[in-house]
Amino acid sequence: MDFPELTKDITLEKMQRFMGPVKNSIHADPELAKSWGVGGAVVQGGHLVAFLNEYLLAAFGRGYSRGGEISATFVQVVRPGDSVTARHAITAETPVEGGTRVELDVWLENQRGEKVTIARASALRARGTA
């Protein structure tokens, strides 16, 4: 169970690419976001959870993609120019059929070390793996 180093640099271009051909979105249109009172374009929550899923998939593989769970809360907005890094802390390990059910806190923190997305997750660590 090796967790990767995962840091993503955020740009408006990447946000727009993630959104696809969508015009009316505060994740792709800074002016619309300002008119909604959120001060400019913000990264879509699904984009941030995707980073955490990449982090967990790299660590657990099929133990996450088949039976894994994540519940995330977006506590601070992420904007173009920010970078986010994934971190984790294991909170429980429970023996189950086929291995160990691992529960953990995972989060993204920005370049200032502030948590921007916090989540609880669980995955299966198969028997015989580290």
């Binding site: 909604w36 879509q44 699904g46 980073f51 996450y64 039976g67 519940s71």
Partner: protein, 146 residues
Amino acid sequence: MLQDWDAIPIGGETGRIEFEITDALIDEYVAAIELDPRLIEAEVDADGRRVAPLDLVPKHAMRTLFIDYVFDKLGPSMRAKQAYEFVNPAKVGMRVSAVGRISDKYERRGKRYVAFETTYFDQDGTPLLHDRRAVIVLGDNFKLKG
């Protein structure tokens, strides 16, 4: 037309979708998120079909299932929570279907939230993943009084 808070129907349908998982969809998603391609290459099932990235299905479906409804009926909003339960992988060639619904609406710390949920199924009715999300509504029409 925007809805009143009291008129938001818990259990109401917000959208439905059916689409096929294709190699092109996977390639587009992997590039958009800058996903480590080794994770995808590792996820080829025994039948040789590519497995879609975990978020591809909800990402592809969310506008039809939820966002159009949110934009039309709730107005300005931001996602506050997102939860997934991954049951079975989506693979190239699968036809995925889902119906989005409002699962809850609630007030917390002076703000109003609307929650949505769906389960995505393959063409045989096998569940792929459960998707629960909540948005905080920002429009003046949803501001709490007092």
